[in-house]
């Protein structure tokens, strides 16, 4: 029996809240957030899954229950197998998850990224700050209700621009020539719409 299946069976037997998760490749489990750290520690110390390769947030769209899931992938450097562990955030408005930094220092940046992109807070994280967006940014860009075109935000250099009277025009953010949103629009029905390029050298670009 492969180590990953073995480990998953042992974990399911030990924690009643752990259930099988549908997966197309690696063995996967759903774990309640309250037992997440115990399960991760058991995988790491008892089953040899010594490397945390990835932490990913998933937003199942506003209104979905639960809305946010954090997905961990652990890897065994000796047996070369993966296990996927998914934990749902209980509170949709203020999602939270225990931090795995105590188990793997490498979780530090992964969790900062999930916080930055989804606003999921990691309890016990030593330094939970934004990592890819700048400090002071107000939104969580990978949430499904965040538009692809972005939200107009004061850039940190706004005060410089105010003094120098110089500024850059934001690039058109229509998202490329062929755009179709997931969900609402059926791509078969939707005509691929072109970027708005009604302006030219002579006709100015329409302002906001």
């Amino acid at each position: 029996m492969p180590a990953a299946l073995d480990a998953v069976a042992a974990i399911k037997a030990r924690w009643a809240g752990v259930t099988d998760r549908a997966s197309l490749d690696h063995p996967a489990v759903n774990v309640p957030a309250s037992e997440l750290l115990d399960v991760l520690r058991s995988l790491k110390e008892e089953h040899g899954f010594d490397m945390l390769v990835d932490v990913a947030g998933v937003d199942w769209a506003a209104g979905a229950r639960p809305r946010f899931t954090v997905v961990y992938h652990v890897f065994s450097t000796a047996r070369h197998e993966y296990v996927r562990i998914a934990a749902d955030c209980a509170d949709d408005a203020a999602p939270e998850m225990p931090s795995a930094v105590g188990l793997w220092p490498g979780a530090n940046w992964h969790e900062r990224e999930v916080f930055d992109m989804f606003g999921i807070r990691f309890a016990g994280h030593p330094d939970l700050r934004r990592i890819l967006m700048w400090d002071g940014y107000l939104h969580y860009p990978l949430r499904k209700d965040f538009p692809l075109a972005g939200i107009e935000t004061e850039l940190p250099d706004a005060e410089v621009a105010a003094v120098t009277k110089t500024g850059a025009i934001a690039a058109p953010m229509a998202g490329g020539p062929f755009v179709a949103a997931h969900g609402g629009i059926n791509m078969g029905d939707a005509e691929p719409r072109a970027k708005d390029e009604s302006w030219s050298e002579r006709r100015p670009k329409p302002g906001p």
């Binding site: 992938h73 793997w104 990224e113 890819l132 967006m133 997931h182 691929p192």
Partner: protein
């Protein structure tokens, strides 16, 4: 007993390690020649000694994962070029295999061989650049000129194959964009033939160079345990003594057919990382020559997957059936089942992973990119402490990261 001319209080403090100058806070980057792109290191210095180093990243963040949720699977291929832009062909392949795993689609042997050849050429190209830049970082300019001469030859071959030197966008879901041109594999073999002696010549500029060894040996030591705990992958992990290579341990795209060795370091310092990369290039040449020698015939895309792979262009223009098939794939995207997969490929910088959540259809619900450079850089606050400022340059060069991939 001779009297020492020190103040008693100072001597005691010094013994306890409390005697420190006023600390200076400096920012290295985001636009600094040795930070290889737009990495910024916020450092606290005590004289020349680094007391704290905090990487600041995100200057190249383009929102690739958000973009992926808004376009079909094939439309995202060009974005993968721009992850590790020194090895776009390897990224293309990793992404395509991840989506193919979602579709449970096997590509024909010829396509696998093409992908292996291109990925290994990309590895050589990426390591040559890493080597040249590392040399410049520690004051050995000539290596860069040698390695770039060889990279230029690779670029010529990439251009012939894909039409682009840099942003290749060569993979498609279920295949590659086009078959290899007439005689191309022969030219790849000829490149390998002349490359090996040139590689030895290039490496000989560094391997026994006193200055290079002094600047790298024992600098930036990463222990086996730390490397695993921080999720390091690729040459950086292997230099620390962990013999993990996904091409060997989790073979994909037919890597199990090829005979090659996985170089492993012993000390985990900058010099080991250099040696591992040098040896990996020799092994890549071995793989390429084997793949070229038994280059399979047949189709170069999984033609039977009618809802995923676009039909040949000449049929699209003459046959109704294929026209509709092409139209559906272009407008709706390759049709995927619902489910989730995670796939990692052994890229030049480490394990490039894609976690895809699909709800069915031609667009992913969520596509997470696990970037090796992101994980490799996260160990910097630990490695840099206690080093001299000049060593930081050497450490950054030896870690060989790409910010396009780190920031996504």
């Amino acid at each position: 007993m001779p009297a020492e001319h020190t103040f008693p209080d100072t001597a005691a403090k010094n013994a306890r390690g409390e005697l420190e100058a006023e600390r200076m806070s400096i920012s290295m980057g985001p636009s600094h020649p040795s930070t290889h792109g737009v990495l910024r290191l916020q450092m606290e210095l005590d004289g020349e000694v680094v007391k704290k180093a905090e990487p600041v990243i995100g200057y190249l963040h383009r929102g690739d994962e958000k973009i992926a949720e808004n376009m079909t699977y094939n439309q995202f291929v060009p974005y993968t070029d721009r992850l590790d832009y020194l090895a776009p062909l390897a990224n293309n392949m990793a992404y395509a295999i991840a989506v193919e795993k979602l579709a449970k689609l096997e590509v024909p042997p010829r396509c696998q061989a093409i992908r292996v050849i291109t990925a290994e050429m990309a590895r050589i190209s990426a390591h040559l650049l890493g080597l040249g830049a590392f040399g410049i970082d520690v004051g050995a300019w000539t290596v860069f000129l040698y390695s770039f001469t060889e990279r230029e030859k690779l670029y010529k071959l990439f251009e012939e194959l894909t039409g682009a030197r840099f942003t290749t966008s060569y993979s498609r879901i279920g295949g590659v964009a086009r078959d290899v041109p007439e005689g191309w594999t022969g030219r790849v073999d000829a490149f390998c033939e002349q490359f090996l002696p040139r590689l030895e010549e290039t490496l000989s500029l560094l391997t026994r160079s006193r200055i290079f060894v002094d600047r790298t040996a024992g600098i930036g030591v990463i222990s086996k345990e730390d490397a695993i705990a921080y999720g390091l992958t690729g040459p950086n992990l292997r230099a620390s003594g962990v013999p993990l290579d996904l091409r060997k341990n989790k073979p994909y795209s037919g890597y199990e057919q090829y005979d090659f060795d996985v170089p492993v370091g012993t000390k985990g310092d900058g010099y080991d990382r250099y040696l591992v990369r040098g040896e990996e290039m020799r092994q890549s040449v071995r793989i390429i020559r084997q793949a070229v020698a038994k280059f399979p015939g047949g189709s170069w895309q999984a033609e039977e997957a009618k809802r995923i792979v676009a039909p040949p262009k000449d049929k699209v223009l003459t046959s109704m059936e294929e026209l509709i098939q092409n139209f559906m794939i272009v407008t709706e995207g390759p049709q995927m089942p619902a489910g989730e997969v995670y796939f990692e490929a052994e890229n030049p910088k480490g394990a490039l992973g894609f976690y895809i959540v699909s709800k069915g259809g031609g667009v992913p619900w969520r596509l997470k990119i696990r970037a090796p450079s992101f994980c490799n850089l996260s160990i910097l606050p630990k490695v840099c402490v206690g080093m001299m400022v000049a060593d930081i340059v050497s450490i950054l060069g030896s870690l060989d990261f790409v910010m396009g991939e780190c920031d996504r």
